[in-house]
Amino acid sequence: MSSAEPGPARAIGERAPLGSPSGEGESRHPSLGISLLVSELSVIYRRPRTWALLAALAAVPILIAVAVRLTDDGPQPGRGPPFLDSITNNGLFVGFTALVVCIPLFLPLTVGVVAGDTIAGEAGHGTLRYLLIVPAGRVRLLLVKYVGAAIFCLSATLTIVLAGTVIGFALFPLGDVTLLSGDTIGPGESTLRLLLVAGYVTVSLLGLSAVGLFISTLTDVPVGAMAATIVIAVASQVVGALPQLAWLHPWLLSNHWLGFGDLLRQPISWDSFGANALLQLGYIALFGALAYGRFTTKDVLS
């Protein structure tokens, strides 16, 4: 149907020069979805809840740094979270310590909230049906939602690293960083390693995001999807702590979560990074496929 055709089928909206006429949709070049992604990100980051989550994450390094600063004799080696005792020598370690502290619970919590909200949140608001009749396209929407969640993962880890670095430099000296191998590296390389660790942690969260995305397609109640995603992250770590289930460990989502120590050795070891990336890729493929199957066949009744 062409809008140039006269008669009853002429499109509305032509009284005002409102964009290009419809009906020629197939002949025009559809956009790839960059604008949808930009809009998705603006929805995520214009949301007060997102900023509350990021603020909570930023509070962790600040709390650690202030606590260490206020104690007189400083932390002892081998007690408390790894790197804690290095903080007094080098502010950069606030970021490392905070990442270690956040990985088991805080990061999965925030990622669970965002990933669990992807589809279920739209369904809960009722906006899902409007996005679909625009049409955003179900596959495209799913992809954009996943990429949005992944970018949130990155911003979450960077928030911790950034807050840690800022507060670390404010309260502690900036010195050389001691690697796990006992070698020391200068501030330039330390910053690089810190960013690598942030990248590692982000990759670690990608599988969980895919799980959250899938769970999110199962329900119209975002809180349920968030809770289920977080429960899976915690359960994975509980199973990982049980030696009786050692055969299952290589398959666990959280198996390599603390493996970023490999990036703090001399020379750097990429083994964990590779293994972790492969594992997370497997989770992304599996749960991405499940989410695709579910979301493209689902009746949107919200």
Binding site: D85, N89, T178, L258, L264, R265, D271
Partner: protein
């Protein structure tokens, strides 16, 4: 609807693909190598002149001992030390090894967010523990400084096993395999006696360099190795020189130690061992050797610890600490018999004394 069932196809295919990938990766690879006799492979090992490499070694044990969650619980130091000893011989451990000639080596025992290092450069030896932030410095006497390749590589273990090849052992070759991405000859040493827990020892020999890349010990009747040390990655190029130049970090506590000649790892031999421990007796030979310690040599607090009680099973004549490769019998009168032999051999040895 056909359409909607098609949409679930990826969800079916992905696990299939992953499963296939895992099975293919886990299957014993088909490697074709030039035919060799066991003797030729032994000669290849003997002629091996790999002096520099860097690699990752993985040690796995399935000794049939209970595993403990690696959280420190309680304050009983005996239990702690026993538990940490158990931890070392159970489960999996990984180390990165850098070797540059006989004089320079670095071993990193890697754990999650922790590492223990031993760095040797000539007569200088450093150890470093990242958790305790402790460094130890030793200077080796010249005599030991000349000592050759370190003891913890598959090469050393394989060399010892090969040295033990006697009429009591049958040497054969398994089909060629692949270790750390390199094709290997699989040398199999099988005890001819029934009086041992060892089913076989397999040594994977790099087909190009002759360097042993893996050694595994199978318990009798078990298909999975009870103990295995293997490279998971290896690079035969010389490691960067700066790896061997260790300066302890500023915040670490540094201990200076001088060590008597005999107590160095890698220099221990049977004579040192004899002088270091209480006098012990030996019975049997080769695979069925039984070592006997006299009454009182086992620390009484160890024998009294609840951990020992939970590990040991009462048997005729004492208590047995059993595992897949090693049995230890603590007799009621306090003597200790140990060996890679079945319980009845230990009991016979105890009865004959």
């Amino acid at each position: 609807m056909v359409r909607s069932s098609l949409r679930w196809m990826p969800a079916v295919l992905v696990p299939l693909v992953i499963g296939t990938g895992v099975v293919v990766a886990g299957a014993s690879p088909v490697v074709t190598l030039e035919e060799k006799t066991p003797e030729q492979v032994l000669a290849l090992v003997a002629a091996s002149d790999v002096r520099s490499f860097s690699g990752t070694i993985q040690q796995t044990s399935r000794l049939g001992l209970p595993e403990f969650p690696s959280t420190d619980s309680g304050s009983d130091s005996t239990t702690d030390s026993v538990a940490s000893a158990l931890e070392l011989i159970t489960g999996a451990h990984e180390a990165r090894v850098f070797v540059d000639g006989p004089q320079r080596a670095r071993v990193q025992i890697t754990e999650n967010l922790a590492e223990r290092d031993v760095i040797r450069s000539g007569s200088e030896v450093w150890t470093y523990d990242s958790e305790a932030k402790e460094a130890t410095h030793l200077t080796l006497p010249d005599k030991t400084a000349a000592h050759d390749s370190p003891a913890w590589t598959p090469g050393e273990i394989a060399a010892r096993a090969l040295a033990a090849v006697t009429p009591s052992t049958e040497v054969s070759l398994d089909p060629a395999s692949r270790v750390a991405g390199r094709s290997t000859y699989e040398l199999v040493l099988t005890p001819r006696t029934e009086d041992t827990l060892v089913g076989s020892v397999t040594i994977a020999v790099d087909s190009e360099s002759g360097m042993p890349l893996a050694a595994s010990v199978h318990a009798r009747g078990e298909s999975a190795p009870a103990f295995r040390v293997a490279f998971t990655a290896i690079d035969l190029a010389a490691p960067a020189a700066r790896l061997f130049a260790f300066t302890p970090p500023a915040e670490a506590t540094v201990k200076e130690e001088s060590v008597p000649d005999a107590a160095l790892p890698g220099t221990l031999d049977a004579r040192d061992l004899r002088s270091a421990v209480p006098p012990f007796g030996v019975s049997g030979s080769d695979w069925s050797t039984v070592v006997e310690l006299p009454s009182g040599s086992a620390p009484p607090e160890l024998l009294a610890s609840p951990l020992f009680a939970s590990l040991a099973t009462p048997v005729d004549g004492g208590k047995l600490l059993g595992s897949a490769l090693l049995n230890v019998l603590v007799t009621d009168d306090g003597r200790v018999f140990a060996g890679a032999v079945p319980l009845n051999v230990l009991q016979d040895a105890a009865a004959n004394r």
